[in-house]
Amino acid sequence: MNKVFKIYIIFSLVLLISALVCGVLAAWSFQYPENYKYVLPFQQLRPFHVSSAVFWILTGATSSIYCFTAYSLKKKEEIYASIFMILWMAAIIIVFICYSLGKFGGREYWEYPPSINIILLAGWVFFIRHFWLFWKVNTDKTSVYIWMWLTGIVFFLFTFIEQNLWNIDWFRASFLKEMTVQWKSNGSMVGAWNQMIYGTSIYLMVKISGNKSIATSKWAYGSYFLGLTNLIFNWGHHIYNIPTANWERTVAYSISMTEWIFVIGIIQNFKSKLFGEDKLKHLLPYRFLIAAEVWVSLNLLLALMMSIPAINRYTHGTHITVAHAMGTTIGINTMILMASFSYFSKNEAYGGVTRAAFRFTQLSLFIFWTGLIVAGILKGYLLMEKKESFSEAFAAAIPYLKVVLYAGIVLTISLIFIIRQLFRKVNYLQGTN
């Protein structure tokens, strides 16, 4: 396994730690904003947290795809992935330097000066080249995860370009168009990286269980196409309250309701996975995958509720949105990526400190997630029904946000325990097939 990749994995895990620590600091600043504003203003702290989280997911997903595809390439063909990794690490470091200097681009998820996107885009082209080489030599294309990786990689390119269309005056002339395109691309981009991560999840399930039918069944392909349809059309819940064309809202609302199919399918399959695979229960990657499945169900239910405009009217712009974002990025994406990292670094033993850390992670995340939902419900109720001011609603939510803070601290410490073990194992990495 090449040296650049090992550095990239460590870099990726450092991003996860940064996302967690900055997240705790940001949660703390909600308790004492009057002190924080002098030391670490929120408009400077939040970008560190958000960018660390976004780049953790993207570097984690690309690490996994690289690791599971590089085996089929010749040594000299690995150069494209190495260039991608070097460019992305350089760009991400520049992003954080910009934040430290107070230089921002002020876009949600992408809060750095937009010129850095050129480096990220150039890097992505090299990653596409890497995947294309794998695609050509890989003759077996019956597994759905290969299609999911392909889809995720291609749609990330589309949505990343779309995210930068605001640099063209025509897109900026109307504020409604500006916001619509910004959140269309953000919403679809999440769908794109989910394709890469869910593909990784299915790959791992096949490898751990030895059951290839998981990746070739009708259910697997049905879910894939349903996910892709939602990627294309189901971003509208972000902008339900923006006065765009009414048909746009109706399309998003209708498509989002197809996600009930996922919920029903997961519930039907879940019992057999949870109780039928005793021989796998001692494996840490398997535990993470099962945890991710539980979080998929919980977050799907939350997302479905938020996708109903009449409910979204209360939840939009409250901490319920944060619960949804945290539930998916930590509960789903991070759990699957931790499964992947544990699998390819051979950190598979589930017991002792690891078991305790894993349990604390899940419990604290559940309290954290619930606390955000309660804070969001309260805020939505006070703002919409009681017509209270922002500061009154904010003050009422503070006790619940305190619970969120404490749960976040436990979550951070317990995940760092597991990450620490991964650091140790990285030196022993081998190619994975």
């Binding site: 909600f30 504003k37 921002f104 002020g106 589309f158 409604l176 972000h238 765009t244 922002f390």
Partner: protein
């Protein structure tokens, strides 16, 4: 067959994107951005205001939604200018120049004219959808 499905969906994605760009905001005509509002938009981004504030409920959670702050009968422009100039209990003093404050005000007025952040109960249909008419 998978390849064909994928191609169909990619073509659909491209067509739907073009439709959104050209017609997606068609029932809400808005006056084009002025030069001073465009400069204000840049200041908004460079100071990373969306990290704490929301526009149409999108952005951070530390400060209030500013979509309709300019037309708010209780707050309005003087209130917004006071915060921009001095900061507040939670908001740091960003040390903005007078020109930057004027540009930000122009930007927020332009945003205000684009619609209302809060959806009224009368706009909710029996199917749970909204029908917003500007």
């Amino acid at each position: 067959m998978i390849k064909n499905f994928l191609i169909i969906l990619i073509v659909t994605y491209i067509c739907y994107s073009v439709l959104i760009y050209c017609k997606g905001t068609s029932n809400s005509p808005q006056e084009n951005i002025t030069l001073i509002a465009a400069k204000g938009f840049t200041v908004w981004q460079q100071k990373n205001c969306q990290s704490c504030h929301q526009l149409y409920g999108l952005g951070g959670y530390m400060g209030p939604d500013l979509t309709n702050i300019m037309s708010d009968s209780l707050k309005g422009e003087p209130y917004a200018r006071a915060f921009m100039t001095n900061g507040g209990a939670k908001m740091p003093n960003l040390k903005l120049h007078t020109d930057e404050i004027n540009e930000l005000v122009a930007f927020l007025k332009w945003v205000d004219k684009s619609g209302h952040s809060r959806v009224e109960e009368k706009d909710v249909t029996k199917f749970g959808n909204y029908l917003i008419h500007n």
